[in-house]
Symmetry: C2
Subunit: 348 residues, 2 copies
């Protein structure tokens, strides 16, 4: 592989001149020399070595992305995947490259920060770090540029996240508008900021909007389809049902709907279901899922922009993003009888 030295040698010229010529460097070189250098570079198939450049400049023009290890699990990852997409798109615009740290365990007490701080990345972007992530905390302590997507809002780390409270309120308002006055809930992933916020908002706004939310209708969940199925099974054995259920994300809601379907419970006729995210599954399932859309791509892009600012030494701030209600086919007005009862719709 040809180096800058080879060009210099061939042209009987100093390496510094070659460097200046190739970079339109901090120094001037005569157009004629510049041209000869350019030509020689092409002739020799020269390609600048970015490793050497990084070493010298102390910057890599690369950001590290740390995503949950569970990214390996497809079910959980619509959000992460879309976030990653948004990150890639924005990085392209910002001229940054992306190094994926798949082996970083963000939870781990003594995070192996070596990986993150070894000079290959100018900053780190975390996608959905668990609340109280040690890795994030250590980076904060090191004052190393970093940013979170859907991270813990209770810290000083710059964070881009949807306004979960508003989203939950929108969902419940939609149900109330349709005439529902009772609601169940499939909980979110524990330890994730989005899950915690939605869980809290659910309790608060159900009360504010006068929607009955019995404790036994708060079903465990983990943001996955199987989790949604489990939730359905918990509900199926109950005697009295809410007329609507809010799934803390679309995956859970879809799993829930499918499991009900297997027992002959029809959505939205027998029970309304609403999700959160507007994942591709929301559109693709039958009935298509009414849901709260969050602008994942935009969130991700904004996070990258913030990180780029931090790397340049500029200020950056956390941002909340507005969700949007997307009405599809899984919600409708409740049946006339107030509470759907198991016996009424589900002959076992």
């Amino acid at each position: 592989m040809a180096t800058i030295k080879d060009i210099a040698r061939r042209l009987n010229i100093s390496v510094s001149t070659v460097s200046y010529a190739l970079n339109d460097g901090p120094r001037q070189v005569t157009p004629e020399v510049k041209e000869r250098v350019r030509q020689a570079a092409i002739d020799l198939g020269y390609r600048p070595n970015r490793v050497a450049r990084s070493l010298k400049q102390g910057r890599s023009h690369t950001i590290g992305v740390a995503a949950e290890r569970s990214m390996a699990d497809f079910y959980m990852s619509f959000f992460q995947y879309n976030a990653l997409n948004g990150v890639l798109n924005e990085c392209e615009d910002e001229g940054l490259d992306v190094l994926i740290f798949s082996q970083v365990d963000m939870r781990r007490e003594k995070g192996r920060l070596d990986e993150l701080l070894d000079g290959r990345a100018d900053g780190i972007l975390f996608i959905s770090p668990p609340a109280g992530s040690q890795a994030v905390a250590e980076l904060r302590a090191h004052k190393f540029p970093h940013v979170t997507i859907s991270g813990d809002p209770g810290t000083e780390t710059v964070n881009a996240i949807v306004d979960n409270a508003v989203g939950v309120k929108m969902a419940l308002q939609h149900l109330a508008d349709l005439g529902h006055n009772s609601v169940g809930y499939i909980r979110g992933g524990s330890g994730l900021a989005d899950g915690l916020e939605r869980d809290a908002a659910m309790v608060q706004f159900a009360r504010e909007l006068n929607l009955e939310l019995r404790p036994e209708w708060i079903l465990p969940g983990d943001f996955t389809q199987p989790g949604g199925r489990d939730a359905a099974e918990r509900l199926l054995v109950q005697k009295e049902w809410p007329t609507a259920v809010f799934g803390s994300n679309d995956e859970a809601a879809v799993g829930f709907v499918h499991r009900l379907h297997e027992d002959g419970v029809s959505v939205p006729v027998d029970i309304s279901v609403i999700g959160f995210d507007d994942s591709s599954h929301a559109r693709a399932s039958l009935p298509p899922l009414t849901t709260i859309q969050q602008p994942v791509g935009e969130i991700a892009r904004s996070a990258v922009r913030a990180l780029a600012r931090l790397i340049r030494g500029e200020e950056a701030y956390s941002t909340r993003f507005e969700p949007r209600l997307v009405v599809r086919g899984s919600t409708s007005s409740p049946k006339v009888d107030n509470h759907a009862t198991q016996s009424g719709i589900h002959a076992h």
Copy 2:
């Protein structure tokens, strides 16, 4: 940030000794010195600079992943996403890091190989490069370690890909076994190896299995749900229908099913549908889709292993992976009348 030099200075010792101590280097150091170095490293918060190490060693222990620009489009990307997951998992085991080249346009005549060959990656892995990709060809010419997932099988580049012909045959055999004797087809993404191979296999095996495949039943498609919807619309206006349709991937099949559903055509009662991939949408849609599963994760892992071999200078070979039929709810025996007709099932 502390360097090896700082440790040396503090201990009044040479940098080489420090290096040997920290790496259990090619040279021995007395346990006592080694221990003092270790301690000093901790005290100073030393972290090895991998950029410098890469420069010196000429290896980065990083592979570059180049994925289609269209990775930004979620619909098209189940395959890419899962492939990426597999790649990440295997890289973790191999101790490799992953640099994503999102800006590489693989089609581009004069690929900007600079990005790929600038020393940051020891090898490149392409996910679904377009057939005849210039970027791949140039890497081949440079003899730079590289591997493709679902790439063009007609080249010398090491390629990991599902056996599409076998998959298509399985799908058609399944339909034949159910009693179908006519079939339609939604074509695959043009320019992608998987699409081209499935298109070809479809024609061949439909004939071999005596399944009628009229030219007007070969519907254009592009591996996306909207493409599948378009295909459905093309079929809806036709007078005579096949009793089953094979979608070249699940996305297309799901879009197809949904569009039919909107016009009151029921799957599998009125028409059977089978897909390819076993994407998450196959499981999540209603009815759940019968499909040909390809072991994407395994394919990806094998590609990484092959690339690792090439980087080490060892031999590596292309591999075909066996698909598997997954029977779900979207296929059944055809109705008694041989050809479904539009008027029979679809009152407009």
